[in-house]
Symmetry: C2
Subunit: 230 residues, 2 copies
């Protein structure tokens, strides 16, 4: 049997025949990780939906007609925190049928890493605050799942990519770097193995400086090689 | 100044006040990679939209009302190819404003790796065929960008994850494995370095068998350790 000729349709007829498919809204949700007091933290806001009264949620919003996904995520961050010099990376789309009480809303999750000390929040709405990832209750919507997914991706990425340095000050000791890895991974690491592994990566530049004014023995200070900065 | 009490809204009023946000359609697009004749290939279909007449596109469709993202991607694959035992992984959401001529359509891209020899396509619509990634013209929609993004992710993942074995038969030689890595990465690899690196991963089980009926010197046969199979 010969193959039939391909019947072409136009974009217009395609839309008309699928008009009830065009009734979804898209949101972005930003998982902003920070590091403070040897703890990995995440930026949360009180939900303003009655259905989630008293619960915290990620920073998010519906994308506007005519707005790109990435642009929407940067807008949300700017509007809610005043921050505009933060790198956001797309992680995953979440589209379970009943995830949003307003109707079908599919959300695109982004994550970011920022140094809390150097990124003071400039705005404060709806009890916007840093929360330790070890002390979180259930979040609004499916935001617990979204946070978990982003945390899993973060834990995988830090093994091979020099990204955690966005959570640290410019100069840091190997002790500080190890504490940060331990906070993210949620496990204690062997000091010698950790230093050997980090050394093999070739990410660090020795500054020939020592830590000052500390209760413990001062360590050497390092910085991320400038070509690796993001 | 005291912080104001948080004004709550309901999901219903939230939807009413954003009704023109709920007019987006979502699609899934599947980048199915295969391996044949020492070439990395991708499964493409002739576009059935007049706007893209004569061009090839990825396997995709709009998600149906009441259909999950992952379910939609498996449905598309099943409907177009007959395949239903293939693992799909979500990669990225693409949402440029004018990417689809029918209106605002955001697409979620998935990719998969299959052994062409062991997954015969059971259906044949719209000139569904394998295309070498080295001989592709411009694809319909933003599908060239989507393919490129998935290929980049594939190239990164194969460095540390034992996933390429889905493209190979059950038993293979180190020569075959190296040829596959070279096809995916698009570069030639040094034989000794490659074997050392692979050996360090600890992924392979030596079968104590040799290749047969070959024009070149037969090599030892290996298989992926069973606990690593996906």
């Amino acid at each position: 049997m010969a193959e039939k000729d391909l019947l072409l349709k136009t974009a217009e007829t395609e839309k008309i025949s699928h008009i009830d498919y065009f009734n979804i809204a898209i949101s972005v949700d930003c998982v902003i990780f920070g590091y403070e007091d040897k703890e990995l933290k995440v930026l949360l806001i009180k939900s303003d939906l009655k259905e989630f009264e008293g619960m915290y949620s990620l920073l998010g919003d519906l994308i506007r007609p005519g707005e790109d996904l990435d642009a929407a995520s940067y807008r949300v961050l700017k509007e809610r925190t005043g921050l505009d010099d933060v790198y956001l990376e797309q992680v995953h789309a979440f589209g379970s049928i009943n995830r949003h009480p307003s109707g079908r809303v599919i959300t695109i999750a982004y994550y970011s890493l920022i140094d809390i000390g150097h990124h003071k929040l400039q705005l404060s709405h709806n009890e916007l605050n840093w929360h330790s990832i070890n002390e979180l209750g259930k979040l609004a919507f499916d935001h617990s799942l979204i946070l978990e997914t982003c945390l899993k991706q973060l834990r995988e990425r830090i093994e091979d990519h020099p990204i955690v340095f966005n959570l640290l000050p410019e100069k840091f000791s190997l002790r500080q770097l190890q504490e940060l890895y331990e906070a993210i991974l949620g496990v204690e690491l062997d000091r010698r193995n950790f230093r050997k592994k980090i050394s093999l990566k070739g990410w660090l530049k020795d500054l020939n400086e020592m830590e000052k004014n500390l209760s413990h023995r001062p360590g050497k200070l390092y910085t991320l090689k400038s070509k690796l900065k993001t």
